[in-house]
Every structure is written in structure tokens, then in C-alpha cells.
Point group: C2
């Protein structure tokens, strides 16, 4: 038996502290945007201008709202919890409210916080630490349907596209679950496995655990990681693909990018048809029926006219919907997916 | 800065204890076979019939021979160190001799052994635990030459073929290093990284660390892991390939196998030409010049005549040497490798 995944209890209070810019607050803003039903409020220090749309709650208000978890929604420079954040966090922990974070430094390495959590009966949940006792991947076919986002690079919208597709399926009354594989995704879903922190031998097995047997009509929408053409992370991507055994992939891309970012050397992104072929060849090891259900592109660098022409050309060339998930939405991909996979 | 790899000090004493069969003693026998120059002796209990060819040494003789490390050469049922093995191991540790093992249970979890090691100033080295602070893979091209064994499945001779090829290169006066990625390989080489125990995000980076910049004429012969068509381990294989950035692959195969073993379902091994194409496509991400230097096949299930015909057919079909590394040796692969990669 193994604990199948990290688990965060709602409702949340999103902690922004004294964060100054949107980029460093994107985890908390993402949770507020994608999981409003899990969020009771926020806490920010005076002077913090982040706008999540959630009400500000102090400890007493949080207790009244039955908050179960404080989510550290900030990525501080250096990855360390700031000293000035500690006093309110200690209060929450002493009051029995879990604290969850995905920082480089571990919550469990802060003795005061550990003591406060023990005294209050609260948990310190580090969403970068995968559950213990994950199995190796067996390749066993599972029931239910699965779609996985794959990317031409990191940071091309794999999480966003999966969340948008999940939301669209649910809107249509389809039984669907978003399956999180990264820290923000896990906070949004309230559960998941940080796949890139899993020991290599167990990555495919972790992905198998993440999307278990389900009803035939149920869809798991799985958040992809890395890229098959990234020299540092392709192994993670492949293990996640194999364990997910997806019925369909959604290819995520950034229209302004022709090579992989943040690497040492020039790693070109292959033409998308070639990329799709390679991704499907890889995915078909564990699901021979896997197909590509669409292309989800960040076109924010294009003008409106350029975008329309670009997406139309992609759609024609590849014979599948090509959308910008923010500017256009993923309706066309949902249509195609549901039409192709039965 | 990071410690680049596990490091074991020679000379070794190989501990066989009361092991009954060759299969459970294969780690120790492998070390004695491939690294006789690192082995001073063995210790086995009376009644143990394993024959490593090494002299039996007690503690006093081991000290005289300046033994630095006791290698647990046995894989006990259940993966636990046996109670009856502890008394001699405690003596060695108290005398300042390191103890190294690759068991499921950790040496550091045996309090008596920890105490003995502390009192003697000995290290307890678990070759299943990777070094800390490995980097992510950057894709930076390194100097020197590299060949990596890749397999159609697990247990098809990747370690054996790499060791045999390394030995053959050294015999020809070529400056070459065997790079170990698994526990027995690490014990043989005295250093290495257990690649499948590395956190997924760092697998390619670990492989980059394992075979650092070197002289232009130097060859690293890297031990492969897993298989690109194994539903549980392909991600490990791919990360190792990318980080190794090999100039050449050697394909390892078992002539009697048409599908992957120990998985849940039928995972066929593709035709070898297709397999080679896929492996080269993957490898060329980080080394566009990568080629396949030969096929190393376990043909132990074939008769002598069958073997000759089988290997001749493979050689003709693929236009590269095909050998059985045990029955025939890897000379032809070394010839082809050195002719093709300059």
C-alpha cells in the first residue's frame, strides 16, 4: 500500500506576505484563478498590491471561515521563507491550520514552525516532496480516458492548457479530473505528485498512480512536464508520458520560440509535424491508440491578424485544431478530442 | 561544487558470507572478474562454495594486505543484511575498513554498524545512494569521446558489453574509462553514479557529471540502463542518453527475447533497425553526430551453428558488426567504433 498523492485540505488562505510583483506571486494568483472554490481568502501585508480578488482574512476570520490550509503563494528570491512571514504562519500553525509551500527551503527545516505545527496539530506540507513508496511502472493498461499536455519546451503553457481543457470538459458536463504533476498544479487541484522530484526509476510508476483506473467515460486531464527535446528534462517527460498512457496528447508551443530556452547551446525545436510524430511514437509504447487532439499555442507576441493567420495555417497543415488557449480558448480541442476518442 | 560521484577505495575484500548460489553472489563474482587489480581477497563462511579465485582473508590478513573496503558481494533474499554477517563486518569497521553495499536496506540504518564505523573511522558506503547536489542537464558539449551501451530490454548485457569494450580499448593502448551507472558497475570501477536512484530532474545532469570533459583522444565507455521501449524505465534511459551525449551507441540484445520481461502486458521489442533509428534520433538531440557502432547479442540459447548464422545475418542486414560479447568478444565493435569516430 502506498499513499497515492500529496493531499491539501480546502478551504485555503493564500499567503502573499509582502510580495511586490505579479511574477513572484504567480503561484498564489494561479490558485485563486483556477480554484476559487477552494479559496476562502488571502493574507497580504500592508503595502502589498497583489490583487487576487479574495478577501483579506486575519487569524480569527480564517478560523471562522474554517480555513484548513495556508498556501504560501509566493516564490521569494532565493527560495527561502522570509523571517518577516514567520509570525503569522506560526499563529496559523498553532491554531491547527496546515501550512503548504513549494519553496526550495523545506518547511520542516524551520524548527519554530515544526514546534508550532506540533502544538497545534497542523501539518507542514511541502508540495515538492513526492509521496513515499511509489512503485515502478508496470505498463498495465488502465480503464478510463486520459489526455496529456506535451510541450515543445518548458514554460509553453502545458499547465494552463490542461487546466483550460479540464474546465471546458467539466463545463460540458463531462466527468473529468485535472491531474497535477507540478507544485502550482498540486495546490490548484489539492492533490497530485511533483513528478520531476520523483526518483528516476519510479517516474512512470508515479504517473500510473496519479491517474488510476476509472469509469470508461471519465477523463483525466494530465499536466505535462518538460519537453522531449529538452536536453535536461526529456527523461522526465518520457516517463510521465509512458505512465500516463494517454489516449490523446495536446501539443503546447510558443509561437515566438524556435529553440529551447535556458540551456547551454542551440537546441532547435523541430517542425511541429515532426515533433508530433516523435511524441506519438513515444506515447504509443503504452497506448498504441494515442492520437494528437490539437495544438495549443501561446501567440501573445503576435498581433490579432497575425494570430488568426498563424493558427489557421497550423490547423490546415496538421489537420487538427490549433488555438491560443488564452486568446481563443480550447473549445475546438475539446470538440476534436471528444469526437476522436470514444 | 558537488561531489562528483561515489568513490570506493581499493584494495577490496569481497564478502560472500554464507551465500549458496552463484546468482545471489553475482555482484561479488563480477567485481572479482572485472576488477581483479582492485581485489585483495574474499571472506566466506565455512561451507560456502562460491569460487571467486581470490584468497580467503581474515581480519589480520586483510589489515596486512592493506584492505580499504569490504564489498558486500551478495544479494540476500529480501535485500536485508543477515544477522550472522554482522560480527565480522563490525570487526572490519572497527578496524577502520570501509563497508560498501548495494542492498535494499541501508547500512546506515544498522545502529551497531554505524557505531563500529564511527569508532574505527570507517565509512559506510551505500552504492544505491547518489551523490548530493547533482545539477540539471545543460546540454553543454564536452570534449573527449563517448560510447554508451543501450539495450532492447533490461538484463541484455549492457554492463557486460561496456566492460568488455572498455577492456578491449585499454588492451589496444587507448586511454579509456569505464563509467558505471549501476551498483555492480560502481563496485567494479570504484566510482560512478547509480543513475536510476537519481531524482528525475537531475538524471541528465548526473550523466553529464559522470563523463566530464576529457582529452580529445580519450574514450568514456558508459554503462547503459533500462530500455527505450520499457514502460517503466524508458525515462531513465533517455535522460542517461542525453546527458552522456555519446558519439556512438552499442545496441545490446538477447536473441531469445521478442518482448520486454517483467512487465504487465505484451511490450514487443521492435525490429532492430527500427530500434536503432529511434535510439539514434533520441541520442542526436545532444550529439547530432551519434552513430551506432555495433550490436552485442546474448546468443547463449543458440547452438554454435545457429549463432554464426544469426550474427552473420545481423551484420549483413545492419551494415555494422554483430557479436556475442562472451562467445565471440567485442573486437569487431572496437574496430568499427575506432574507424568511424575520429
Amino acid at each position: 500500500m502506498f499513499r497515492s498523492s500529496i493531499n491539501l485540505k480546502a478551504p485555503y488562505l493564500i499567503f502573499f506576505g509582502d510580495v511586490r510583483d505579479q511574477l513572484n506571486a504567480k503561484t498564489g494568483l494561479g490558485v485563486a484563478h483556477w480554484a476559487p472554490e477552494r479559496c476562502a481568502g488571502q493574507m497580504k501585508f500592508s503595502g502589498c498590491r497583489i490583487e487576487s480578488g479574495l478577501p483579506n482574512l486575519g487569524l480569527q476570520e480564517a478560523l471562522k471561515a474554517r480555513v484548513r490550509t495556508v498556501i504560501i503563494g509566493v516564490a521569494p528570491t532565493g527560495g527561502q521563507l522570509k523571517e518577516t512571514w514567520l509570525p503569522p504562519l506560526l499563529e496559523f500553525a498553532r491554531a491547527g491550520i496546515d501550512i503548504a509551500a513549494g519553496l526550495h527551503s523545506k518547511l520542516a527545516d524551520i524548527p519554530e514552525l515544526v514546534k508550532a505545527a506540533q502544538s497545534g496539530g497542523a501539518r507542514l506540507v511541502d508540495v515538492r516532496i513526492p509521496p513515499a513508496n511509489l512503485p515502478c511502472g508496470s505498463g498495465r493498461r488502465r480503464t478510463g480516458k486520459r489526455v496529456l499536455t506535451v510541450g515543445t519546451d518548458c514554460a509553453v503553457g502545458k499547465k494552463y492548457s490542461a487546466l483550460a481543457l479540464h474546465r471546458e470538459l467539466v463545463r460540458r458536463g463531462i466527468d473529468a479530473t485535472f491531474r497535477a504533476t507540478g507544485q502550482t498544479g498540486i495546490m490548484i487541484a489539492g492533490e497530485g505528485i511533483p513528478i520531476d522530484a520523483v526518483v528516476a526509476d519510479f517516474v512512470a510508476g508515479a504517473a500510473e498512480v496519479l491517474s488510476p483506473d476509472n469509469d470508461d467515460a471519465h477523463w483525466d486531464v494530465i499536466e505535462g512536464q518538460g519537453s522531449l527535446v529538452h536536453p535536461g528534462y526529456a527523461g522526465v517527460t518520457l516517463g510521465l508520458m509512458h505512465g500516463s498512457q494517454p489516449d490523446a496528447l495536446v501539443l503546447c508551443h510558443d509561437a515566438s520560440r524556435d529553440s529551447v530556452l535556458d540551456v547551454d547551446g542551440y537546441f532547435p525545436i523541430p517542425p511541429l509535424d515532426e515533433f508530433i510524430d516523435r511524441a506519438l511514437t513515444a506515447a504509443r509504447l503504452t497506448n498504441p491508440e494515442c492520437l494528437c487532439a490539437g495544438i495549443s499555442v501561446n501567440t501573445s507576441m503576435l498581433t490579432g491578424d497575425e494570430r488568426a493567420a498563424y493558427l489557421e495555417a497550423l490547423t490546415k497543415k496538421h489537420g487538427m485544431p490549433a488555438v491560443d488557449p488564452i486568446a481563443i480558448g480550447v473549445h475546438a480541442i475539446a470538440d476534436y478530442l471528444l469526437g476522436q476518442v470514444r
